[in-house]
């Protein structure tokens, strides 16, 4: 279309928009085509020509400000094979929330694969995905960034070349291998970062936490962020460092918490000290006690009673008050020393039954051996199977068929599947999802066969994760 035609088209268009005849405005060549017809037909002919001109000769003008995102980085693991993607999508679809979806992702990563980016992408704020996804998290976060994730060693010099998630992953690895070097980096570069980033960096100190970290963590007591000061206090508490000594007055939180705990004695011959929750008069007091458990450190509380952390835990009367037991378990998980955590886990697992369930709150602090022991214990007893869904930070894909057959789990599952109780069936669905995450591929395969034989529909959505698991034989 030449310039005259373009100008003509523009004026005709304006004329038609407001209404009227455009024949006199048309380019000469177009007029020739329409001239012989009556006025209405002339307009229609011109309309047809204009329509084709707009369709073919004119294209949408591309804005000059079109923005291209950097290419999505390739990840270190291979993509899940195409044939397994329908199974994966089934499992993701069935996963009710982000936590359940992240379990699917973790299972696939444990078998040596990553997901297709159109099937699942971590959010920019994601901090729970397997480390292999760090480049995608950074890609999600870096809207206009020119930087690229680097594979070399993180140093103070190249600190800014790393996106946050890649930096976090690199620092976590460094804390495991050379904690002092990593601490020095956090110390050097962290102070200039905003409080939110500083907090995530300090949180990485829990990898390889040791006495050498004490001076640095103590130095953070002057940090301008309250959250950073609180986190540093917790890490110091894990190292057995007492907090700021209180004045034992009514404003001292440790003293206030201690007042909510009853110290007693038990045993006829060898009298030993016991600690149990005091009976409170009002829900307001209950709430206050809960707040104090969440903010106080175990080492300070034990010191307040003049005992060591393991002694305090050993003397706590688990089973008397469920909610307070959970608060104690959370306090131990947050601020207990490694020794206190393992002591509590071993003691309660040995005791078995309901008290063992409180160990679930310690899961992120336990080594994989202890985690597995607890899960096997719960599976063997089956009384509290539902609690398995609370387990956090557990490894995927290790549960053997023997772990299911060595106890009441399998018969209980079969009975529930064959029954007609909808509530029980919902519990089965949840358990199958959990087992879909924990099981080995062979166990998943056998479990599917077993529950289908018991009457479960072979295509039941609750088997989705087990099916995916069974299809992923290993890295």
């Amino acid at each position: 279309m030449n310039e005259i035609e373009q100008t003509g088209l523009a004026t005709m268009r304006d004329c038609w928009i407001t209404g009227g005849t455009s024949f006199d405005l048309a380019p000469a060549a177009w007029k020739d085509i329409a001239a012989t017809a009556n006025p209405d037909e002339r307009e229609r002919r011109l309309l047809a020509i204009a329509a084709q001109a707009l369709e073919i000769a004119l294209r949408p003008a591309a804005p000059k400000t079109l923005k291209r995102r950097p290419p999505l980085p390739e990840l270190a693991l291979p993509m899940l094979p195409e044939r397994q993607r329908p199974l994966l999508r089934g499992a993701l679809k069935h996963a009710a929330d982000a936590r359940a979806k992240s379990r699917v992702v973790a299972l696939v990563a444990s078998r040596g694969f990553v997901l297709h980016p159109m099937d699942w992408m971590p959010a920019a704020s994601d901090q729970t995905s397997p480390d292999v996804y760090a480049p995608w998290i950074d890609w999600q976060a870096g809207v206009d960034g020119e930087k690229h994730t680097r594979r070399e060693q993180l140093t103070a010099q190249n600190w800014d070349d790393f996106y946050p998630a890649a930096r976090r992953t690199a620092l976590a690895d460094m804390r495991r291998a050379a904690p002092a070097v990593a601490r020095q980096l956090i110390e050097t570069k962290g102070s200039s970062e905003p409080a939110e980033i500083r907090l995530t960096l300090i949180a990485l100190m829990h990898f390889g936490l040791g006495p050498d970290d004490v001076p640095f963590l103590k130095g953070l007591s002057a940090d301008r962020s309250g959250k950073v000061r609180e986190l540093a206090g917790r890490l110091l508490a894990r190292l057995g460092q007492l907090g700021q000594p209180g004045d034992s007055g009514p404003e001292d939180p440790i003293a206030e918490l201690a007042a909510f705990i009853t110290e007693g004695k038990s045993g006829f011959i060898r009298r030993r000290t016991t600690y149990s929750p005091a009976t409170l008069k009002s829900p307001a007091q209950e709430r206050r006690r809960a707040e104090l458990f969440e903010t106080c450190n175990l080492v300070d509380l034990a010191a307040r009673f003049g005992v060591t952390e393991p002694d305090f835990i050993g003397a706590w009367q688990f089973g008397a008050h469920n909610n307070v037991d959970i608060l104690v378990a959370r306090m131990v998980a947050a601020s207990g020393s490694d020794a206190a955590v393992t002591h509590m886990a071993d003691t309660l697992v040995a005791e078995g039954g309901k008290p063992a369930l409180f160990v679930l709150h310690l899961m992120p602090r336990l080594d994989s051996r202890r985690q597995r022991v607890l899960i096997r214990l719960i599976l063997k007893d089956t009384q509290y199977l539902g609690a398995l869904s609370l387990a956090e930070g557990v490894e995927a894909g290790w549960l053997d068929w023997a772990d299911l057959t060595n106890g009441k789990t399998l018969p209980a599952l079969r009975a529930a599947v064959a029954g007609n109780d909808d509530v029980v069936k919902r519990g089965v669905d949840q358990l199958l999802e959990t087992l879909g995450f924990l099981a080995t591929a062979a166990t998943a395969e056998k479990l599917i066969g077993d529950v289908v034989a018991a009457g479960m529909a072979p295509a039941a959505p609750s088997l989705a994760l087990l099916r995916l698991n069974a299809s992923l034989a290993g890295p």
Partner: protein
């Protein structure tokens, strides 16, 4: 399993079907591999079990249950069992009577009328021939009457459609006189009125198209709508003119009044047949204002050196719930297709499906980088009344403008043509290099169907 999901009319059916996959629900499960049939009896709430049969070759099905969903949960469950536990089916040497009945009815409706079988049992060839001759003599008058009636009906329809197009012309002139600004603002009412008139006057297909103009306009930014209105109305003018010059043209009749039946297309010697490996690129499902759902499935010929597309088009009432044909995006199969005769044949029917083939990359089509829309230009040159045109775009990527709207742009020519995308795109796409992209170009927007990327094939429809 993908096929079953695609066939299911809704999620509830799928869920109900999953509960029926227990072996105990099915007192009878049989198969005949030669005929590619599976059938069974499912114990429902009634006194008699429901009888279900499925043709595993083309996913045809029949169930005796009263459900108004198609396929019903029993059919889905039977397919499901076949997919997950094929060993549940007993091999049967012969098919039961009710399966034979269904097969018989099916063949009558889906294939050309078979020639009368000569030498039928109990008759000699001579007798059979005599019967045929007698029948031919007896039917000759009836056939002539029928044909005369058909000719009369066709003539009436042609007159009626011609009058309808006169009204349409006048209506278009009125829109120009009154102003396209007003047309854009009131397109819904105005189009509805003329569409109703066109239906009365047997220009049904054209009425359906005009009914969709408002939604096509509303999908654009307000400043683009006048140009789009010019394009829509101008194409109607061209279509009306083309029909008047050749009212018997199959393509134009299809676009103006009614479409041919499957049998007519199959019987048409001008209909091109192509046997090849096809990939399902994607689907476009739209609920129209006339209460029909149009389900368009776009296929790509993987054996063709230049991009060749096929469109499988299905209409069904929206009240029947979600339906689907047997295709899922990404499926690849060997099949013979027959194309509806047209200047640029696109719409097709599957004549014979020979089975699935393993995944493979798209062929390298040797793109013309200077212009990503040559196919569109070619199509508009020969059939300027068409709207959506399938195109294969060269290597490119998806970019965002200041308003956050997505554009496709060629990689090798970043300062050249960029095409705006109709729908919201998955943000992940912004980080992917697209080696080739299949899309529909509407003249103003791209509807993405599928793409090849470094991360493999992407479903975008």
């Amino acid at each position: 399993m993908k096929t079953i999901e695609a066939l299911a009319p809704d999620q509830a059916s799928l869920s109900s079907a999953s509960k029926l996959t227990k072996r105990s629900n099915w007192p009878r499960l049989e198969k005949n591999e030669q005929l590619a049939l599976i059938w069974g009896e499912c114990q429902g709430s009634g006194s008699n079990p429901y009888r279900v049969v499925v043709d595993t070759g083309d996913h045809g099905y029949k169930c005796t249950c009263p459900s108004r969903k198609f396929p019903c949960k029993h059919t889905l469950a039977l397919m499901w069992i076949a997919a997950t536990t094929p060993a549940s089916f007993t091999a049967a040497g012969s098919t039961p009577e009710w399966v034979n009945d269904w097969l018989g009815r099916r063949r009558k409706t889906t294939s050309q009328p078979a020639a009368p079988a000569t030498g039928a049992a109990g008759k000699s060839i001579g007798e059979a021939s005599r019967d045929d001759e007698t029948a031919a003599v007896e039917d000759a008058a009836a056939i002539e009457r029928r044909e005369a009636a058909q000719r009369k009906r066709a003539q009436d329809t042609r007159s009626s459609v011609s009058a309808a197009l006169d009204e349409l012309d006048q209506w278009i002139s009125d829109q120009l006189r009154l102003g396209l600004a007003g047309f854009v603002d009131n397109s819904s009412d105005r189009c509805r009125r003329i569409a109703a008139r066109l239906v009365d006057m047997k220009a049904t297909a054209l009425a359906g198209r005009i009914d969709e103009i408002p939604s096509r306009l509303m999908g654009l930014r307000s400043e683009e709508r006048p140009d789009a209105a010019i394009r829509e109305l101008g194409k109607l003018v061209l279509l009306a003119k083309a029909w008047r010059s050749t009212p018997d043209d199959a393509e134009l009749k299809r676009l103006v009044s009614t479409s041919e039946s499957r049998e007519q297309v199959l019987a048409n010697p001008e209909a091109i047949q192509v046997e090849s490996v096809w990939e399902v690129l994607g689907e476009k499902i739209e609920t129209r204002r006339d209460g029909l759902v149009s389900h368009a499935t776009w296929l790509l010929d993987l054996n063709s050196a230049s991009p060749r597309f096929a469109l499988l088009l299905d209409y069904f009432p929206a009240s029947a719930g979600r339906r689907s044909n047997a295709f899922t995006p990404g499926d690849r199969f060997d099949a013979r297709l027959v194309f509806y005769p047209a200047r640029q044949p696109l719409r097709a029917l599957v004549v014979e499906r020979k089975g699935d083939v393993s995944p493979r990359e798209w062929p390298d089509f040797g793109f013309d980088i200077a212009d990503p829309l040559p196919a569109h230009v070619a199509l508009q040159d020969t059939a300027p009344w068409l709207t959506d045109c399938p195109v294969m775009l060269p290597p490119g990527g998806i970019l965002l403008d200041d308003r956050g709207e997505a554009w496709w742009q060629s990689t090798d020519n970043p300062h050249g043509i960029a095409l705006p995308i109709a729908d919201t795109v998955n943000p992940t796409l912004l980080g992917l290099d697209l080696a080739a992209t299949a899309a529909l170009w509407s003249g103003s927007r791209l509807h993405l169907l599928a793409a090849q990327s470094g991360f493999g094939r992407l479903d975008l429809s």
